[in-house]
């Protein structure tokens, strides 16, 4: 997906190396191929390639990966609705 780059330093994706058991699930499922496993540890090769789909996190057996948990497809209309809903419930945090 090198033809398509989105905003740098924005996607929320964290890998806790100490927890990683090197199973390789993250590298297998990632549709943007941003992981690599070396010496029994996963590493993120291209953090800016992440689209926060969450496949790596849900398939990590030890919870070593954290991805922005907000659900939604990322279309503007949906986000506007979620912002309005948040304003209505009075929680801006």
């Amino acid at each position: 997906m090198q033809d398509f780059r989105y905003l740098d330093d924005t996607a929320i994706l964290r890998l806790t190396a100490e927890k990683c058991v090197g199973c390789g699930n993250c590298a297998l499922v990632c549709p943007h191929r941003i992981f690599r496993v070396r010496e029994q540890k996963a590493e993120i090769l291209d953090p800016n390639g992440c689209m926060e789909c969450g496949a790596c996190a849900i398939n990590c057996p030890v919870g070593a990966i954290y991805v922005n948990p907000d659900d939604g497809c990322g279309c503007a209309a949906y986000i506007i609705n979620s912002w309005i809903a948040r304003m209505k419930t009075g929680c801006g945090c």
Binding site: I12, N68, C73
Partner: protein, 341 residues
Amino acid sequence: MISPFVDGFLETAIGPIPRVATILSRLDHLGTFGARTGFTRDNYKVTPGLYCVGNPAGSSPVLVTANYKLTFDALRKELAGIDCWILVIDTRGINVWCAGGKGTFSAEEVAFQVQRAKLDKLVSHRELILPQLSANGVAARDVKKLCGFKARFGPILAARLPEFLQTGKAREDMRAVTFNFRERAALVPLEICLLWKHLLVAGLLFFFLSGISPEVFSKAAAQSRGATLILATLTAILAGAALTPLFLPWIPFRQFWLKGALLGGLSSIFFVAGTTTASPVEKLALILWISGCASYLAMNFTGATPFTSLSGVAKEMRKGLPFQIITAALALMFWLAEPFI
């Protein structure tokens, strides 16, 4: 009623299993057209459950898919000459990736359908092949825990399944998502067709706003200026919902609202150059309106791409939305003011 894509039944130990055609009929293509243009998109479903292709045996592979008919068709048309089972799970008529994201394509649902279909009495192995793009909703290890079947992720595209089934492996290029010109072009009709209702409401509003004049309401102005506004809006739709998706990688900027504003701005210049009746103030209003509208439509297209993160979209919207609101407000102001100048 038997679905038209079922071309027979296979007698098995657990009863007859519907066998599906691997060639799409005229009816299927018509359905695809309906889904791609939004007419039948919201209720285009296949009944969940077990189907088969060819003459599968106990050792044949089991492919799991969503019950969106477009997804189901995309799968079966790639399976000519292959003997296999297809387990359709209930994703409420949503495609694999979106259903994964929304939680309906889940380990629980896969396990439920495995048990409901009595798959363990039908096949001798204990393995399911899931589309890779369901991995955002399915924790493979949970499937095993819940129903005893091991979930393996196959390739992203159904077109690569024959190779995957033959070699037992997914090559790196089968696991990376693509977004080529053809894939983007397939999305454009829906982007446009979903706007018809909005356009109808907008048209009535344009007619009303364009008629406001010193003599309270001018029907002639309402008609001619209202028509200009509708044409301007169609130009914005062309720029933001068609040209932006089509030429996406070649348009400068990474933020979609900027891509749309740029193409909208350029289109608006052509548009006002082509209108002979508009005054300078009206032309300014049209440029602002087309630019802002195209910017919003382009920004909304982020939801249809396979590479924009939710954090990124939220971030660009904090800049894009103010731009769009301000351009639209200024456009409205200039448009309303013109008859009084």
